[in-house]
């Protein structure tokens, strides 16, 4: 038997003073490897599990590092004073954290050892039995639902959405965590009132779910594609206007009773 603090996993970044993902001041641990290949992904270096080299500011940067939970927590712990003042804590992001389930669970347990708030950004792309194991240690599940249409989902993200949609319901029904649905608003993919309204309707059917967040598309990740020697799949798509976001927010709230927030 090994101490869960010695569980190893692969990350590509740790970002401190994150204030847009979950409540309070947080530290985000980015786990490497993803099951989807969303065209708009702003962290393309997160997708492959393999350790890669990305050119940044003209110099090579290694993306991917194998670490133990203990090592990660040494950094996480450094911001304890800020977590306790803001009710913040640890957030897992990716990639898809559920592709490294033991590591993700151990990180969340370590977060609970510190007594801080825990959150995870994830699409829920795993068997529910895997997800179930980490729910006891997770305060907030920030779950992406990108589209209700399976075919379109597959076309833009590489996989169908069926498993994730089902998992959302199971997670909600478990009552073990606060579930918040997040929707990246992507030009040409889901940026119509009807598509957003469809996601909102499903969200409102999830028991106990009160919030939906609409995250407007941005192209800040474009330079990373260049750095990885890959073409940028979104071309020159532009960020949705504020007016458009307001319309979509209204569409999400109409008749659903949900609280809708623009941005994380």
């Amino acid at each position: 038997m090994t101490d869960y603090l010695d569980t190893r996993g692969r990350i590509f970044d740790i970002q401190r003073y994150s204030i847009h993902d979950g409540i309070g001041i947080r530290t985000i641990v980015f786990l490497k490897g993803c099951a989807l290949r969303c065209r708009w992904c702003c962290n393309p270096e997160s997708q492959s599990y393999e350790i890669e080299t990305m050119t940044q500011n003209g110099r090579p940067k290694t993306c991917g590092q194998d670490v133990t939970v203990r090592e990660v927590m040494e950094t996480v712990k450094r911001d304890m004073p800020y977590y306790s003042r803001s009710d913040g804590g640890l957030t897992l992001s990716g990639g898809e954290s559920l592709l490294q389930p033991e590591f993700a669970t151990a990180l969340l347990m370590a977060g609970k050892d510190l007594g801080v708030n825990t959150a995870m950004e994830s699409m829920g792309f795993a068997e529910y039995s895997t997800i179930e194991k980490l729910l006891p240690y997770l305060d907030t599940y920030l779950m992406d639902i990108k589209h209700m249409d399976a075919a379109k989902h597959k076309q833009w993200c590489g996989k169908e959405n069926t498993l994730m949609i089902e998992n959302a319901m199971k997670i909600a029904k478990s009552g073990q965590t606060q579930l918040i649905i997040r929707v990246p608003v992507i030009p040409g993919f889901n940026d119509t009132e009807s598509e957003i309204a469809a996601i909102a309707r499903y969200t409102s059917s999830l028991p106990g779910v009160a919030q939906i967040h609409l995250l407007p598309y941005h192209n800040f990740g474009e330079g990373k594609y260049t750095g990885l020697g890959r073409p940028y799949p979104m071309g020159n798509a532009s960020r949705p206007t504020d007016e458009k976001m307001q319309r979509l927010k209204a569409a999400a709230e109409r008749g659903t009773g949900l609280y809708c927030q623009i941005g994380g």
Partner: protein, 843 residues
Amino acid sequence: MTNFDSTPVEKSERITRLVAHLFEKMPEIEAARAELITESYKNSEGLPETMRKALAFDHILENLPIIIRPEELIVGSTTIAPRGCQTYPEFSYDWLEAEFDTVEHRSADPFYISDETKKRLLAVNPYWKGKTTSELARSYMAPETLRAMEHNFFTPGNYYYNGVGHVNVHYDRVINEGLSGIIAQTAGALGRLCPGDPEYGTKRRFLEAVIISCNAVIKYARRYSELAKQEASKESNIGRKNELLRIAEVCSHVPEKPARNFWEACQAFWFVQQTMQIESSGHSISPGRFDQYMYPYYESDIRSGAMTREQAQELIDCVWVKLNDLNKCRDALSAEGFAGYSLFQNLIVGGQTSDGRDATNDLSFMCLDATKHVFLPQPSISIRVWNGSPQELLIRAAEVTRTGIGFPAYYNDEIIIPSMQNRGIPLEEARNYCIIGCVEPHVPGKEDGWHDAAFFNMVRPLEMVFSNGYDKGEEASIHTGDIEGFSSYEEFKAAYKKQMEYNIRLLVNADNSIDRAHMERSPLPFESALIDDCIERGMPLQSGGAHYNFTGPQGFGIANVADSLYTVKKLVFEEKRFTLSELKKAMEMNFGKGFDSITAQETAQQVAKAVAAAGEDVTPDLIEETIRTVLTMELPAEEKARYEEIWQLIDDLPKYGNDVDEVDTIAREAAHFYTQPLPAYKNPRGGIFQAGLYPVSANVPLGAQTGATPDGRLAHMPVADGVSPTNGKDLHGPTASCNSVAKLDHGDASNGTLFNMKMHPTAMSGERGLENFVSLVRGYFDQMGMHMQFNVVDKETLLDAQVHPEKYKGLVVRVAGYSALFTTLSKSLQDDIIRRTAQGQYR
């Protein structure tokens, strides 16, 4: 439990117009005060210095032209032109004469000066030749001190050329008891003087001078009362007529008698604040805990219904406008060091009462709102934060911060109070602290802190380690051995420590010489009257009459020193990537990144000196040729590549500001090299030295006098400000940056530390943005950080403001311990502010 009403009150239209009037034209220099003090001094030769000051003060206040500006409620202007300034030849004057033709067009803080004013000043200035404080101070300094100053190790320019200021006085006593109360106390002390007392004569003349000075201010107020009456008689608008009559009544009553209401309390406050700055040119005369001493008058007027909250807010806003009406012209170099026309009148809200309860009241909120309404650099508004501070007050403060004005500055009671106790201040008085100027903790009404006593560049002694004490071909400091002989990091560090200790001793010598000169030539009876225990001891503040006496010179450049020491430790001695000699050469060659015009000029000067020493002629051609050679010099490719490689190795090292314990521990030690030796030294007023760690804005001009450093900083670039990490080198966000800074021993820097942080507006948006911001401040303070201040503005805005200054006239940014109008700052300081890392720009 909350016992305050925090409801915001709208800004009145009057305030917009008062502000517009203030900024109608460029600030102007006036000659009236210089003429009046000279007149008086000519007639008082032979009298004791205290008496001469009092007679001069009386003469000035009796004859200085007065004006009530349109729509003012609080009156009292030192100059006829808005935001103008008087001159103070008794401290120094030759710099102004030398700059007569440039002062209007210089980059930092330009002032208009008319030909007539120049003529008037030239007529009176010669009287002061040989009589100024600066000349006397210079004559008191050790030869090696003068040499160290020539070589820019430190500059005590502040008090060397000007009055001291930097106090908080008993505004409360003037408001509550009136100057008549102070006069009665002084008369009592006079009556108790014992003829057998060896100091009888000086005490008596000083106390008489106090009474003359207090009466001078009372008479000055009456002149305003008369003027208001006259203007009222000519005023056709009934509303304004009534206001003028009210002003006449107020000024006939205060500051002589105790204030009867909030308006009178505001006016009494203002006469004290204004006339103290006529008595001497000292800046940073700080209102301190305005929300505390004004509250009883506010509370009683609100309760009785004599005044609405709207009226109270308007009066406070009027006081804020007046604080911007005062101005000061400094010499060109100091103007860069204190850029932004700032007088650093620090006013602080919140915190604790002297018995340890939360001090927040309605006025705490209204003062913050006044800053939002007036939106000008004065007062330097600050907030005290402790574990019992109401979240609501901090959120309101964060809202002000979010406007981008750079206010308020946040101060941590939990470390400042113990640090003051450690210097011998009892708990109750420490709990009542206020802040002077930029960041300096102070006991209200009881202290002469001589804060801001000098700027000490901690990087220069490091240069001296490499040069073994030589600078520009001269012996400028002690010899600590040839670096080639150093076999360990410890030896290198010990050499730095020695260089520091030596130059700190000279800094003390400079400050004490100036202190002594002020004691002898510039006792200030009015200021002394308002600080305990000058009256009871019969001693001016400048002779040590205050209850507490300190001297607080400030060091800066910790980040550069820490990162430099780490370079030497890691790359020279541990990894042996290059030798100290190689590093020295790389620094001399500016890491192969070319030379700037400063290096070219310096080289030309040295060549000229060598040529002259050889008995040959120095021709302009030779100078020009040398400059051209240096500027266009190309190093051999291989050599250049090696220097660049060295620079890259250094750049790749972790730096202070990233929460890396190994580096931060060195930073803590580096700060101690400055803070620890100082308290062993005494000043002539019977107090000790205590260190501050803040630069005002001197890190830019003094950086321009400092060569390349082992942290990879290129020659003549700004040195890091205060305790902040080097601009652009803190890469792990604000919490990591805060953690690094919190690892310094702030408690030992009891004259204040200054931490600048730049926030991107997106990091503070929304209610949650404010909440998280407050948590960041609290988290830093939980780790015993002392002070924090913020610029919330995006880089694009600042860059645009450089190109289109006309569009950004009102853009206020945080410079150091104060905010200033961005467009009035010099280009190099603007660039420095732009380079400060913007935190939170993630999404």
